[in-house]
């Protein structure tokens, strides 16, 4: 099957390895990208007629490298471009290149490409935009739409990020074990940030693909580092959360709470993959924050009905997360589970000391109001809900609290 859908898929799939290898060869991001662009154009011409090559990445690297070298020669000598026939005998070269790609080279090429997008001098939004442009190959227009900014502004943002990287020292030697682990951690954070950009936008069709792209990058990272339980955890976490997309918003576009969601709308294939990965990760007995969050999501996923949820298990996992990464937000999340297991009084005691640090936080007052309401302290609950509404970021959040308030009115 050599229809255009397959060819586009093959080019997109091969892109990280191909651009990564071209970057190692030319040591310049723009040259590597242009070389890949040229190779992709030639692939669109050649593959429908000749059939796709055995190893699309190797083909794209070889053709891209030759094309860029020709370009450099032309610029140097002002001679005419060599005809395409010069490039026609690809088969032999392809095999040796493919052999080399199978090893650690390929892995470090892709990791390097992801890693340079995460340069510490770049703000998080620029890291994500750069990764989408360079690694995923989204167009500037697509990225601009996803970030809700104009195309010119996004073009400028990406250009600025690139020039900052060009000035920085990009490490081209193969990294040592410790350095490699650090790079993997930095790249994992960037991928999760990218996912959250899409996730927080909910059903917005322009931003939704960010979640798919983050999952694709995570699968890529996991394939390079098959035995890293935290990468399994990260991938599982995103799959399990993304699986709920169709159930997270009602027909009016309002957010639906986890416990109110129609679980038959959850995507079974994403859930199966996420659960399989968390099972794999747990066997390593090396818990980390992504694994614990994924394990929490997995408990929700395994509950056929909301009332079947193993809240004691979730409470224990949040306690572990709190020990690993202490923060008021971790405690707040845990309190929701604690309320289910030990009652609202225990949960209220747990979150009351956080009030000062979370005084600008919608979720804090929403949770506080809910606990107070369960305890029958309705006047205090109303005060908390009023503050939550004032702090709501979206109309859906405010509407959600208003429904709580309506509930209070009815029970009062």
């Amino acid at each position: 099957m050599t229809d255009m859908g397959w060819i586009n898929g093959a080019i997109t799939g091969a892109r990280p390895a191909a651009v990564g290898a071209l970057l190692r060869y030319f040591r310049d991001l723009d040259t590597a990208e242009e070389a890949f662009q040229e190779a992709a154009l030639r692939a669109l011409k050649s593959w429908p007629a000749n059939g796709p090559p055995r190893d699309p990445a190797a083909w794209l690297i070889l053709v891209g490298r030759n094309a860029a070298l020709d370009g450099l020669r032309v610029r140097a000598k002002h001679t005419a471009l060599p005809p395409d026939e010069v490039l026609s005998d690809l088969d032999d070269a392809e095999a040796t290149l493919a052999d080399r790609l199978d090893g650690a080279h390929y892995r470090d090429d892709v990791l390097r490409l992801l890693f340079i997008c995460c340069h510490p001098d770049l703000p998080a939004t620029q890291q994500i935009a750069l990764a989408l442009r360079i690694v995923s190959g989204l167009s500037v227009a697509q990225i601009a739409r996803a970030f809700l900014v104009g195309e010119a502004a996004m073009e400028q943002r990406i250009t600025r990020a690139k020039s900052r990287i060009a000035k920085a020292d990009v490490p081209f030697e193969a990294p040592g074990a410790v350095e490699r682990a650090e790079r993997v951690g930095v790249v994992a954070s960037m991928i999760y940030l990218l996912f959250n950009e899409g996730y927080s936008a909910g059903g917005d069709p322009a931003r939704g693909p960010l979640c798919d792209e983050a999952i694709r990058l995570a699968r890529l990272l996991l394939r390079l580092f098959q035995t890293e339980p935290e990468i399994m955890g990260l991938t599982a976490l995103m799959l399990l959360q993304h699986a709920r997309l169709a159930a997270r918003f009602d027909a009016a576009g309002e957010a639906v709470l986890l416990e109110d969601q129609d679980r038959t709308l959850w995507d079974g294939r994403l859930l199966a993959e996420g659960l399989a990965l968390i099972d794999k990760a747990v066997r390593h007995n090396l818990p980390g924050p992504y694994q614990i969050q994924a394990a929490i999501a997995a408990i929700h996923s395994r509950a056929v009905r909301a009332e079947d949820t193993d809240w004691a298990g979730i409470d224990a996992l949040y306690a572990a997360l709190e020990r690993m990464q202490p923060s008021p937000l971790a405690t707040l999340n845990r309190a929701v589970a604690t309320a289910k297991v030990h009652g609202p009084e225990a949960a209220l005691t747990m979150i009351t000391p956080l009030e000062e640090r979370l005084s600008g936080y919608y979720y804090y007052f929403g949770a506080r109001g809910a606990f107070l309401a369960q305890l029958g302290r309705l006047a205090e609950a109303r005060t908390a809900f009023d503050r939550a509404i004032a702090l709501a970021d979206t109309p859906a959040q405010a509407a959600h609290i208003r429904r709580h308030l309506d509930g209070l009115m009815r029970s009062a």
Partner: protein, 120 residues
């Protein structure tokens, strides 16, 4: 005669399909399966190799993350089992190993299982 048809493709490319592209392919395949219902046994779509775990059977059984990557052995058969989780699946694989040591079992979760369409 029963035949197994094993499906191979570029995983990166297939998992890069958009939902629309994926649905289109699955829709076309569903039509073929329907047409061939009298001869169509069970079929399965596997999750990506990143979800796989391998039990290398000899010299000592050892669990490895990822798919079976060696090329010196050949695919000789497969089982479909229905268990709660990976540990239970590995337990089944160990029981099979006890009866037949040597080689490896790749344990790959199934994304989509289509039962036997033949009328029994």
């Amino acid at each position: 005669m029963l035949y197994a048809i094993l499906c191979y493709n570029d995983e990166d490319a297939v998992w890069s399909w958009t939902k629309e592209e994926d649905d289109a392919v699955m829709g076309r395949l569903a039509v073929v399966r329907e047409r061939l219902a009298p001869i169509m046994g069970p079929s399965a779509r596997l999750l990506p190799t990143t979800a796989a775990t391998t039990l290398r059977k000899s010299p000592e059984p050892i669990v490895i993350d990822g798919p079976y990557a060696e090329t010196k052995e050949q695919l000789l058969g497969f089982y479909v089992i229905d268990v709660a989780n990976l540990d239970a699946a590995l337990d089944v694989a160990r029981q099979l190993t006890a009866a037949n040591p040597g080689g490896a079992y790749e344990i790959r979760p199934i994304a989509l299982y289509q039962p036997d369409k033949r009328v029994s």
